[in-house]
């Protein structure tokens, strides 16, 4: 279908999960993959104008490599309304089982309303009991410092940043052999906290996940929920 200029569009929002091996796919690669998936699904897509028209896809907060999610959002612009459950079926047929859509609805909402994201961290460690105490102590500190690449003018410099204000809450507990953290972290673009940063603090400070233990120790991160500023669920 050749698009006439300035066609109006409606936004169909999908909520989907991205799990298992797909945690190793970066956000950028997900965007590229999703472009092909929606073309295969045969949606009545709205295309951007200009010399190189593209469908318009807008993703919620990016998910970093090594992080699984039950709670990803994708907005797709369509030129005509289609039935939500048909849309879900069409997308799911074109994705593998580790990434599937669970909900679809039309919306005018913006992703900037997303203020927090909830995560479950699970660690499988050689000495869990010792790690539990040390992780709890680490999380309770006034300041949790990480080294981060930043800019001073045009120069790249290593900066020390306190991530404590970006942690809304974090509880650590043991679940059988595993050590778990339930955390709510900032999703605000200005102060977004990558959950991997939290893991790297624990790696440095609590002696877990050392290079020589890579084949024995492991961890997983699962994004579970998204919240608005008042901690009500984001939709």
């Amino acid at each position: 279908m050749v698009q006439v200029k300035n066609l109006p569009y409606i936004t169909l929002r999908f909520k989907f999960y991205k799990k298992g091996a797909l945690q190793y796919i970066s956000h950028l690669d997900l965007v590229r993959t999703m472009h092909k998936i929606i073309v295969r699904a045969g949606f009545p897509l709205w295309y951007t104008e200009g010399f190189n028209p593209k469908p318009k896809l807008i993703f919620g907060a990016p998910l970093s490599i090594g992080c699984e999610s039950d709670c990803e959002f994708l907005d797709v612009r369509l030129v005509e309304r289609m039935n939500e459950s048909d849309a879900i079926a069409a997308l799911n047929q074109n994705m593998t089982e580790e990434m599937q859509v669970t909900e679809a609805y039309y919306t005018d909402g913006k992703f900037s309303d997303m203020a927090y994201l909830g995560y479950d961290f699970r660690f499988s460690l050689v000495d869990g009991t010792r790690a539990l105490e040390s992780i709890a102590a680490c999380l309770e500190r006034e300041e949790i410092l990480i080294k981060k690449q930043g800019k001073s003018g045009k120069e790249k410099v290593m900066k020390t940043v306190n991530i404590k204000p970006q942690i809304h809450s974090a509880k650590v507990y043991a679940d059988g052999e595993e050590i778990c953290i339930r955390a709510i972290l900032s999703a605000d673009p200005a102060s977004f906290l990558n959950p991997e940063h939290l893991v790297s603090v624990l790696k440095n400070e609590c002696g877990i996940l050392k290079e020589e233990n890579l084949a024995k120790e492991s961890y997983s991160i699962l994004r579970t929920d998204a919240y608005k500023k008042d901690l009500s669920p984001f939709v």
Binding site: A21, L22, T33, R40, N52, G66, N94, L214
Partner: protein, 617 residues
């Protein structure tokens, strides 16, 4: 058994872990209980490169069409992952099943570039499979190789059980069927299988079934088959009718970005040209075209199953496809509306037209690449390039008018008979391209002119008219490269050149014989891996490896081969006769050109292979 896929901590510690996970849309997983043969299609380079390889895509599709065969993909882990695998004792595994490749029946390596040889051996080491064919046990897999380097695979002869000479679609199936049949009737043993494959299947070369003797001066005396039923010369296998050949209707969809992340449509095989330096132009003959209808149907189907927004029409020289207009018209009937763009790599200067230009730029813009190859008409005639400077200037004028502001020009240094005048000609040619741009009225040319001159080093390749030539020494090539740099005075010309030392090693490996095997093994022992990458390549390591094995690299490069000498690749019959190549060589030295197949059949010999061809007499 541990598979990489289960080791999350390791995956999280390496670059681009998406290379190792598999699970892509359209990847093929079969129930191994119902499988008679497990085939590992091994690509000796990283995932992003291997996934872009058309030949591998074709063979993956073809082999998996057979319900008794499960063909899986295996790629070389990047350096960081390889280090982790070695440290933690993780073996090389296949992408689909995550299972150890050592337990497979056959490992098929794609030999697409000589510098991947060390990666092949490193992959065998990672898999825990003995490097030498003679050391492999009965229950270990058969190691076979195929692809362009198989036409002279002698340097790898001791490592491979079997070589595929020619196109793999039918050949590989035949090999697999013989294997399954012998396993089923209980007659299988490694030696019995290899012997029957060599004797019964056209296109199979089993190096261990030949004795090689040498003369006192070190040249080869003879290749002698060890048994009467083993062919004296192994004849290349081709697919006779490409319209009937299997072509994938789906592509495995990589999650991570690959080098050629698009639909690739092979429009024909072979080349009507006959440039005297070009190996591909010879070994893929005779020319066999696909019909526009077959191609358009395949393209539509692939688009629907992939969602790619680009279709690349692939061949050795796309504008030489005799029905290109018909094909592009058919494709454009639906591609524009589907927001799919066409890309036509490998365009020739003499057949580039305004009409073609519009077809490829209807959706997207970008740069264009042309290959004059040499800087003067004299040298272009020597190499039988058959294009003129006027062709080039006409083409770039069309390109500039059509909105392309960047033009890339490919040349070669070190071609036979090259003089400093020819090298200076490269700079002059590039300058004339810039002048052509400024001759256009301002409103007809795009802004942001960019001309890139990219200069490779000539490597005399087997099965070309220049196969006997000596290679320029790398000292001489380096001198020529810096001379050319001095000749390029215009700041708007960007100048790139290939590392002469890499081309030197390439020449040793492409022209080598069986005596190179210990040197290649020594290079691997010294850590050579992913040599095809700049950061993986070490000239000094190669020179040490040659020295330790008592190999003089100059013997294969700057010495040149005598016209009556037995060549390491004489055991292979690729269809092109030696008489034809000698004739072409003589004409080169006289500066005489040979017309394209479409104008006149020059009797190269390839028609004897059969096949549905248009031009052969």
């Amino acid at each position: 058994m541990t598979s990489i896929k289960d080791l999350s901590s390791i995956l999280k510690s390496v670059q681009k872990p998406g290379r190792y996970i598999g699970g892509e849309m359209h990847s093929i997983v079969k129930d191994k209980e119902n499988i008679s043969l497990r085939f590992a299609l091994c690509f000796p380079d990283v995932y992003e490169i291997g996934m872009s390889n058309l030949g591998s895509r074709l063979l993956y599709h073809t082999l998996n069409q057979d319900p008794a065969i499960w063909c899986e993909r295996v790629y070389a882990p990047a350096e960081d992952m390889k280090a982790q695998m070695e440290k933690h004792g993780i073996p090389l595994t296949a992408i689909e099943s995550g299972e150890d490749v050592k337990a497979f029946d056959i490992l098929g390596f794609s030999l697409h570039y000589e510098l991947c040889y060390t990666t092949v051996l490193s992959m065998l080491k990672l898999a825990g499979i003995p490097l030498l064919s003679k050391d492999r046990k009965e229950d270990e897999p058969i190691i076979l190789g195929g692809g362009p380097c198989a036409y002279n695979s002698e340097p790898m002869a001791d490592f491979f059980d079997l070589m595929n000479i020619g196109e793999g679609e039918e050949l590989l199936s035949d090999i697999c069927h013989l294997y399954m049949q012998m396993k089923a009737d209980g007659t299988y043993s490694r030696s019995a299988f290899l012997r029957r494959a060599a004797a019964e299947i056209e296109g199979v070369y089993v190096p261990s079934l030949y004795d090689v003797t040498y003369n006192e001066d070190g040249t080869i005396a003879a290749y002698t088959p060890k048994f009467p039923d083993v062919p004296k010369k192994v004849k290349k296998r081709i697919v006779k009718d490409l319209d009937k050949a299997p072509y994938p209707d789906k592509l495995v969809m990589p999650y991570i970005e690959t080098v050629h992340d698009r639909i690739t449509l092979e429009i024909y095989r072979g080349c009507i040209r006959g440039c005297r330096f070009c190996q591909a132009g010879m070994i893929y003959r005779p020319i066999r075209e696909k019909s526009p209808q077959t191609l358009c149907k395949a393209a539509k189907c692939l688009f629907e199953n992939t969602g790619y927004d680009e279709i690349s029409l692939i061949s050795l020289s796309t504008s030489d496809y005799s029905r290109l207009r018909e094909l592009t018209d058919l494709l454009l009937e639906w591609t524009d509306d589907a927001h799919v763009s066409l890309s036509l790599p490998s365009l020739r200067l003499d057949s580039f037209s305004e009409e073609l230009m519009q077809k490829i730029s209807s959706v997207r813009t970008g740069g264009l690449t042309f290959a004059p190859e040499a800087g003067t008409q004299r040298l272009r005639d020597v190499i039988n390039k058959n294009v003129t400077e006027e062709d080039l200037l006409r083409s770039v004028r069309i390109a500039f008018r059509g909105g392309k502001s960047s033009v890339k020009l490919y040349f070669m240094n070190g071609l036979p008979t090259e003089t400093y005048e020819d090298i200076e000609g490269i700079a002059k040619t590039a300058k004339r391209v810039i002048d052509t741009y400024y001759e256009l009225p301002r409103e007809e040319r795009p802004s942001g002119l960019g001309v890139t001159v990219s200069v490779a080093c000539f490597v005399p390749k087997p099965f070309t008219a220049f196969q006997w030539e000596k290679q320029d020494s790398f000292e001489s090539l380096i001198k020529k490269q810096s001379y050319l740099r001095g000749c390029i005075t215009d700041r708007r010309i960007k100048y790139n050149y290939h590392e002469a030392k890499v081309s030197f090693i390439e020449a040793v490996l492409t022209r080598g014989d069986r005596r190179l095997a210990p040197a290649i093994a020594a290079a691997v022992e010294a850590g050579a891996y992913l040599d095809a990458w700049e950061e993986g390549f070490s000239f000094d390591r190669w020179m040490r490896a040659f020295a330790s094995a008592g190999v003089d690299p100059a013997y294969y490069t700057t010495r040149g081969f005598g016209l009556d000498e037995v060549l390491p690749w004489d055991v292979i019959d690729c269809g092109i006769t030696k008489q034809f190549l000698k004739r072409e060589r003589e004409k080169a030295y006289k500066g005489e050109t040979t017309p394209a197949c479409s104008e006149h059949c020059s009797g190269c010999g390839a028609s004897a292979l059969g096949g549905k061809t248009r031009w052969c007499k």
